[in-house]
Amino acid sequence: MKPKTQRLTLALLAVVAIIAAALLALSALKDQAAYFYTPSDAAKAHLQPGAAVRLGGMVEKGSLTHLPDGVTITFAVVDNAATVPVRFKGIVPALFREGSGVVADGRFDANGQFVAETILAKHDERYMPPEVAGAMHKSESLKK
């Protein structure tokens, strides 16, 4: 093989690899990316059960209940305009509490309940996830 042909082959290979990786990335992005919804966004969006969703808002006061198994909780996420019922099995983060901001990764089941796989809450007193801060801000302005 001449050097020039070899360089061309290598370049072609690289292009093919890049295209293959891009296709792989795009198809995975399409299937696997979780869009962020506030409860009011989710109400409008008619989400498919089973699609990956990231839900953010505030834990409604008085909505937290513990199921008899001792490890499952249900609560409602609100943004002052809509409410989503959520079920979660696991240990909630330390600063998860009623009236506090929350972001949950999970999926809607067929009954419209959101089944959370992971729950993120404020890290400490100083910190709030930007999604929650944004969602709170938005619903505050809706209220006015």
Binding site: R7, A17, A28, Q32, Y35, I91, L95
Partner: protein, 639 residues
């Protein structure tokens, strides 16, 4: 006075950095009398940054609350180790560490580099000064660590408790040595592009620097992964968090660079590509710094939420990456053609390695940046998590492992498929046996884990194959290094596959006295008591753990409450056995008085980090081997 001295040292360092740039530029252009001052200036500049950094450490250890940064992040009740390490547990301090390491890396090149052609070396030090100036400016204009606070408050606000761990003393400095160490490779590439001096001698000079940065990067990532694993209490060791990706991307690029620089050093091939990779590797470090330090991500790593800082870093990023790529574009045409090679050869295997690593890098980059760009452009928020990365990067990583098994068994320049197949046969056979055996034992195992286990076994055997029929005493150290590093990948991969497919998880609400079984262990919830430490109080569960008829062990997971700043964290308790770890977390109390316990039996999970350590040890042996050989045979430099 100490804070003012630190600030003065930084300004002086910035001035010397400017001098270094000017002197190096003029010296490369032919002002020979200036060449002599470039090295001393680089060393003096490093000394000043180290002085500034040491003074900041001093302020933190002494808890000088008249300094704003100390007030924000330090607390007099903290133990010495955390007052010390809190220096870099915040935005400004960590950026000062960045600049200090950058300065030291430049000084190390000035003092130790003897192989590089003099003009290229001067241009390299000029490149290092250009990078330095941008980050000095960022420190002095947007992130002054020495800003005073008046009047001095009586007590500091304390360090984020998640960071209050011995890991903070080790993980950030190691990772930064890797991140910033890659700046040397970048500056080498700039130097080579300026003087058009690219060849085997250049590659042999660059290789130890790349290897050194890569070793630290490997150690830093491994340590960070283990820290997240035991500190967060989520049972996972990698979350595809953007901050983790920020450290993985430079590692992928540096790994590719490490292999392509070998082709350049040994066979004088892949000239332009190696320079490109050197630019990409440090660019990824800067992208990582931007992601972590700009405040656009919120995580335990993101201290700053100041948009000006984000813009400043973004501008630096575009200037450096754009500038380097422009220089590359302008000069690459004049880089002479490298030597050609056969499609079946060691070189070709390394090209495949580079393509696959680059593809994985691209996938991680897309997954990390896409949500940020989408949100900036359209306001749509989306999160890209493990499902994306596993689905997209997983298959490519497995192909990469297969290539890795074959690579070291290929001959340089020209080889044939038939003898290669013969050399690979034992490894392929072993992989097949493991594949069938695992599928038989665990029929429902996920395909990626199944292939992972099989390929790990094959790779382990193929990795040691280059030692076959060799006189082990006379085998060069860098061959040992390669063998160990590749073996480390196999070990780590086996750990990942075991953890993801054989982990047993129990989430229960238990009363005191109840016994739960998880994997081979029975866990008795014996008691729950209050306890306290220097700046926290906690509830501590006492778990009596027994495996079969073995000895009784005690594990004590805690739910801690810190008071400065007020934060609750959970402290895991982990028992390490030869064949895995028992991982326990204490949760919340249910309304009926029972306590949530989360227990995991994780078979062979420790292999993940053992593999990481093995990779770093392999790298270290290779580094020592290369330096040793270069010392003993200096004439090789001029080949």
């Amino acid at each position: 006075m100490i804070a003012e001295a630190g600030l003065a040292a930084l300004w002086l360092g910035a001035a010397l950095c400017m001098l270094q740039l000017i002197a190096a530029t003029l010296a490369v252009r032919g002002e020979a009398q200036l060449a002599g001052i470039v090295r001393p200036v680089a060393v003096a500049q490093a000394a000043l940054t180290m002085l500034a950094f040491s003074l900041l450490i001093w302020l933190f250890v002494e808890v000088d609350l008249s300094v704003a940064l100390v007030f924000e992040n330090d607390h007099s009740e903290k133990p010495f180790l955390y007052r010390f390490a809190a220096t870099w547990g915040n935005h400004e301090g960590s950026m000062l560490m960045w600049v200090a390491i950058l300065g030291v890396a430049g000084a190390a090149v000035a003092l130790l580099e003897r192989k590089l052609e003099e003009r290229t070396l001067l241009a390299t030090l000029g490149g290092q000064a250009v990078i330095g100036l941008g980050f000095y400016a960022f420190l002095l204009f947007a992130s002054n660590p020495f800003a005073r606070l008046y009047p001095a408050p009586p007590e500091g606000r304390g360090l984020n408790p998640l960071l209050q761990d011995p890991g903070l003393a080790f993980h950030p400095p190691t990772l930064y040595l890797g991140y910033v160490g890659l700046s040397v490779a970048f500056s080498f590439a700039i130097g080579a592009l300026v003087t058009r001096d690219v060849g085997p001698a250049f590659a042999r000079a660059m290789r130890p620097w790349v290897l050194g940065a890569w070793i630290f990067l490997t150690l830093g990532i491994t340590a960070g992964s283990y820290w997240a694993y035991y500190e967060l209490g989520w049972g996972g060791w990698w979350f595809w968090d953007p901050v983790e990706n920020a450290s993985l991307m430079p590692w992928l690029a540096a790994t590719a660079l490490l292999h392509s620089v070998t082709v350049l050093a040994t066979r004088d091939g892949l000239r332009a590509w190696t320079l490109m990779l050197a630019v990409i590797a440090f660019s990824m470090s800067m992208v990582g710094t931007f992601l972590v330090r700009s405040g656009i991500l919120t995580s335990v790593h993101a201290f700053a939420v100041d948009p000006r800082r984000g813009m400043f870093l973004l501008v630096l990023l575009f200037l450096y990456i754009g500038g380097a790529l422009a220089l590359f574009g302008a000069r690459v045409g004049t880089v002479r053609e490298g030597t050609r090679f056969d499609p079946v050869s060691r070189e070709a295997g390394l090209v495949a390695n580079n393509l696959l690593l680059s593809a994985v890098l691209g996938i991680v980059l897309v997954g990390t940046l896409y949500p940020l760009i989408l949100e900036a452009a359209t306001g749509t928020k989306l999160s890209v998590g493990p499902p994306y990365f596993d689905a997209a990067a997983g298959p490519l990583a497995l192909i990469l492992v297969a290539v890795m098994a074959a690579g070291p068994l290929l001959r340089w320049r020209r080889d044939n498929l038939a003898p290669l197949a013969k050399r690979l046969a034992p490894a392929a056979g072993l992989a097949l046996i493991v594949l069938i055996a695992v599928k038989f034992v665990a029929p429902s195992i996920h395909i990626l884990s199944l292939l992972g286990l099989a390929l790990a076994a094959g790779l382990a055997l193929a990795s040691v194959a280059p030692l076959w029929q060799r006189n082990l005493r006379r085998t060069p150290l860098f061959v040992w290094g390669m063998v160990l590093a590749h073996l480390g990948v196999a070990v780590s991969l086996a750990g990942m596959a075991c953890d993801s497919s054989f982990t047993v998880e129990k989430l229960v609400a238990a009363r005191v006295g109840e016994t739960v079984t998880v994997g081979p262990y029975s866990v008795t919830f014996d008691a729950i008591d209050p306890t306290f430490g220097a700046n926290w109080q906690a509830l501590q569960a006492t778990l009596l753990v027994r495996r079969g008829g073995g000895d009784m062990l005690t594990l004590s997971p805690q739910a801690r409450t810190y008071w400065a700043p007020p934060t609750e964290t959970s402290e895991t308790a982990i028992h390490t056995a030869l064949d895995g770890q028992l991982y326990t977390v204490l949760g919340k109390q249910a309304p009926d008085g029972r306590w949530q316990l989360r227990l995991w039996w994780k078979p062979f999970v420790t292999l993940i980090w053992a593999g990481g350590a093995l990779i770093a040890i392999g790298g270290t042996l290779a580094l020592i081997g290369r330096l040793w050989r270069a010392r003993r045979r200096p004439q090789e430099v001029w080949l």
